[in-house]
Amino acid sequence: MSAFMKFADLLLVVARLLTILIVAGMLFSVLVGVFFRFVMPISMAWPPEAARFLMVAVTMIGASVAIRQLDHVGITLLVDVLPARLRGAVYIFGNIMIAVFLVVFCWFSWRLTWEMGPRQISSSLGVNMVFAYASMPVGSAMMLIQIVAVSIEGWQRTLQKQSPFSPPSPV
């Protein structure tokens, strides 16, 4: 258990680092595009495309950080009135449903990446679409790990009579 949590924590650090680098890369690409259009009269086709692919990546990779930080909020109006144990069980059920989605998504985005990707070439960068698609299976696998991690943490909060749906309240 604790070995798994260490692994999830490590993956969280990696995801945070990647998110920072990807947002910076996105900004850089767009600014390069602007620079070359105004300062040097060379129009470049690759910056918008690179930035778009990075945007897909930041959504997928950043989502695993968001899951771990409980930034994805749902309607907890109803579950908040449930008794503690039942609320914990509902929380785990919800996470299992999310995990089902992520497993299916991971598998089919993996197939998309390796079955379609090598046969498609992106229009401006001229790269293999494997690079563009790969963030989906990678990101959803990282989300899956973090869903398991928040489930463990949420159940621990349940045992301490706290809501698993919200971050731990400072004691």
């Binding site: 945070r16 998110t19 920072i20 990807i22 947002v23 910076a24 996105m26 900004l27 767009v30 600014l31 595009g33 602007v34 918008p48 930035a51 778009r52 692919f53 945007m55 897909v56 930041v58 959504t59 997928m60 990779i61 950043g62 989502a63 950080v65 968001a66 930080q69 930034d71 994805h72 909020v73 749902g74 309607i75 907890t76 109006l77 109803l78 579950v79 509902v90 929380y91 059920f93 919800g94 449903m97 999310i98 089902v100 989605f101 299916v104 998504f105 089919f108 985005s109 197939r111 998309l112 563009a132 698609y133 989906m136 749906f165």
Partner: protein
Amino acid sequence: MAFAAIAFVFLMLVGIPIAFVVGLVSMWLMFDAGGAQFLLLVPQRVFAGLNVFTIMAIPFFFLAAELMTVSKAIEDIVKFADAIVGRLRGGLAHVNVVASAFFSTMSGSALADIATLGSIEIRAMETMGYDKRFATALTVASSIIGAIIPPSIILMLYAGVAQVSVAAIFLASIVPGLTLIVLLMAVVVFMARKYNFPRREIGYSPREFLVISINAALPLAMPIIILGGILSGIFTATEAAAVAVAYMLIVGLVIKRTLKISDIPGCLLRAGVMTSVIFMVLATANVFGWFIGIERIPESIASSLIGVASDPVMLLLLIVGVLLLVGMFMDSGAALIVMAPILAPVAVSGGVHPIHFGIVMSLALVIGLTTPPVGPCLFAAASVSKLKIETISRAMLPFYAVQLVFLLILILVPEVSLALPRLAGFIN
């Protein structure tokens, strides 16, 4: 379809985040329609929903707002607002509205307004002897301005989802935004007379006023770059937002030196994660959107509604009623992403202009940010002011009335939204 609808409601009510609820339901619909082979379409639709250049303005605006918060530009803006309206009766209350208006020309989100300005405003008003409940309610009410005045995140989402021009909808939101500011300041004037609010007794000397204005000029130039760039056609919205970030970096790191290099990774991370939360909804909703299209859902809703609501105003009132209800429970951005693809075609087929509908829809959903039971702005204000949600929402009552009147004006007079983009030739 019936099973999917029930599953949708059930999964929402057990507290699953909307992005995954929509993902699960659309995945089931895909599987139901064509078996495992159709599930290959899911990642393709997710990729297509995110691989869009126009929505990239959103992460950059999140980033610009983060940089502005960290570089303490907020205080310069509050001081500038105080220099302009602080001498009026109820001065700080006016400052609250005007500072929110300035801030919203840079951030585009109501929640960011409360998180950054809220604590400063409420504390300042409390020390000057204002009722804390009024101070908090006004802060919540004025935060809405942030979601209306360009650059607005929710309007940008609408432009992306309903495929209208960002420039046109930004232009359309200027008059409504100014109207809301005037309405809120009118409430303050009325309350200030009734309760004899304090005002700032000492005026600034012309020299002091000049210094304050110069300090505020640097951050306030940002919206001019953004709007000027977009409306003149020099930049796309995304490029303008990226340039705004670059401008904030130069101002913060080089000119004012209030920003440290070590602050930047944190800003990038928060902007990235915030983007990811909203874009996950966009991604899964794009899978759902495929069904809306092939099942011709907007058409069937439209044909059943036309019988009940024959003219555009009736149709809008009906839709807004639903949206106000939805907005009370769901986050405005997520609700917009899920519902705009269904409702915009319905409204357009009923004779409502898509730009007009975007403004009305966004405002109707954003009002929900300030109402119980699920109101993120209300919750943020409660944690900043340490008041109870019930107390704040009771103090909000006059402002709820103002919001509804404002919404009615927008519905009944389309020209409030449409005149400016029409004059500029963005729509005909």
